[in-house]
Symmetry: C2
């Protein structure tokens, strides 16, 4: 972790093989968008999410057929699974019985306290944590009334504390919490308040963030701002689209803060009037070629010799373009000068060498 | 501005018609990547940047022909222009004489103090602010040595303070400051330190952020984290690629924090196993159709009736899909139930109405 970040230490919980909170690495979550009772489709998507760096997968459990499908899905995948359940305690019990690793359910939404007790009893026996997930858009009426008729950070925290109190009364503390809103400053404020109030791990996300393009920016700002303040133990980027994109974006957010090493990091300067090579095209080519590299390699693609080697000193490998020729450098040292049309080839020769050395 | 954000008040400066700092809206900057002495090409790009919501444009001034081109460029564009100059005081003087609105130049990099004095004299006469731009990759040797041989936030701030001191000694305070690094936590820390130390407006950016895809996330995290802490008066997203994408990303960052209203905001839920309509496709269609709308309209596209109206209560207009049918709502109230295949048509009828009403 970067020396410039200080992370708040929460009480760790365990979701299958993944520890969330404490000093555990910040984990990446996503949610399948298949019908959960389509076992083959759901398994295929989970495997795909695994392959792009997802740590935990959530499944919607809208009915009993979905809850029963968990058993077969679990037997075919490696990643821990969380059941997303609304209101119906029987689905929660069935999910636990079928081997789910964690639940997302709000106990305050279950009318009958004996039903909550049944869930808690089963969850305790099998060490199944529960995520309390507060959404600004579905706050309880009494809380809305108390907080001026509309969602507020304090109202969101109060809602979470009510759900927590129900579980704590039953001596259940295997909890994590999310407080999602589509308003980013409200979300940030809510998590800040929550982080000051309890030591449970926090699951970060911006809800209804939007389509891939705008949603990624909204999530990066909201989740990134909190992580930069040391808040957050597990994250989910919510996008309207392929969950694979959610995982890729989440990894980029963590990488940008030095909180995860995964695959290549490309440093490339903005193109400007000083630039004499087709930097954008080269950078895109480099990015594409690096897309199969899983090792954390830092590669710099710089437009001009002025800023090139200096600015990218921290990179493992880099190139800097010039007038018709370019420099190849490693760890800030120039190792070669080549004609411009051989620059990419020279770069990839170096990348291949580096990967070989590290194997 | 969101009630959950508190912005640090800096001493405002004026870049052409745009105020930077104080209580002025946070402005969006970009940089042309044309050859500046290609007047037609540069003007065309500035006009294009203007049309997507750019407030200030920076031009590279690597030689005298670029400095001389400023005059003609200025006469053909509306946006304030900043000259990006390294080392050569003559280019700075020429840029001022040719009508530039601000300079980006580091006085400490100009060997001869009388040359700095010449720039300052001209800048004072015409109210031309100077941006001091510190890059982690090109810190002065004495500073690097003092700070352990590598760039640190404190080292970056110290470098900026040295440049500032040169200008302040000449009684020049028409200054803004940037402290860029490609390391996001280092950048955040540097700006935090700077913000505690001086009241000059701060220009935020992450340098060498990378290609459009990864660079946008890195910039959103770094710039967003600072803005969320109330730090920053003007921003530039640096991408290796079309500067139009920089401006669009910058606007999305500001919009996500409620710091700018520009065009439509689309709220759409993540697709999940509860979703019975092709949400991703609908959201993309809505986004595309809205791309010509300049008015700030909040539109919600929700997958299911459960979370739909509740979650998107704050939206101006929204749709929520269901099993074969959907709801159309305005300001949280359901106004219509339509068959699913008429949902988008119904949505756009409402959007058109809203735009008409507001005209």
């Amino acid at each position: 972790m970067s020396e410039f970040l200080q992370r708040k230490k929460t009480c760790p919980i365990q979701v299958g093989k993944v520890i969330v909170g404490g000093t555990a690495p910040i984990s990446v979550q996503s949610m399948t968008n298949t019908k959960t009772n389509d076992v083959a489709g759901t398994v295929a998507q989970i495997v795909q999410l695994d392959s792009v760096g997802c740590d935990i997968v959530r499944l919607a459990i809208p009915d009993m057929s979905a809850a029963l499908a968990i058993k077969e899905i679990k037997s075919k995948v490696q990643l821990p699974l969380i059941a997303d359940i609304h209101f119906d305690y029987r689905l929660a019990i069935a999910a636990i019985e079928n081997g789910i690793d964690a639940l997302r359910i709000n106990p305050g939404n279950i009318a009958d306290a004996t039903h909550v007790a049944m869930i808690v009893k089963e969850a305790k026996i099998r060490n199944i944590p529960i995520r309390i997930g507060v959404n600004a858009g579905s706050l309880e009426k009494n809380i809305l009334e108390k907080h001026g008729g509309h969602p507020t950070p304090a109202g969101m925290v109060e809602s979470a504390l009510q759900h927590i109190a129900i579980l704590e009364k039953m001596d259940f503390r295997d909890i994590k919490i999310s407080l999602k809103a589509n308003d980013v400053p409200m979300t940030i404020k809510a998590y800040q308040l929550m982080s000051e109030t309890v030591d449970y791990p926090l699951h970060l996300g911006i809800t209804e963030a939007g389509t891939i393009k705008s949603g990624i920016i909204k999530s990066a700002v909201g989740i990134g701002a909190l992580l930069a303040q040391g808040i957050g133990d597990t994250i989910r980027v919510s996008l309207t689209g392929d969950p694979v994109e959610e995982v890729k974006a989440a990894n980029e957010i963590l990488k940008s803060l030095g909180l995860r090493e995964y695959g290549p990091t490309l440093i490339s300067c903005p193109t400007c009037g000083r630039c004499n090579i087709n930097l954008a095209e080269i950078a895109e080519q480099v990015e594409q070629k690096l897309s199969n590299v899983r090792k954390p390699v830092k590669v710099a693609v710089m437009g001009c010799v002025v800023n090139g080697p200096g600015e990218a000193k921290e990179a493992d490998i880099g190139i800097a373009g010039g007038k018709g020729q370019g420099l190849v450098f490693r760890k800030g040292e120039v190792i070669k000068t080549v004609p411009e049309d051989q620059l990419i080839t020279a770069l990839f020769t170096e990348i291949d060498k580096l990967i070989e050395e590290e194997n």
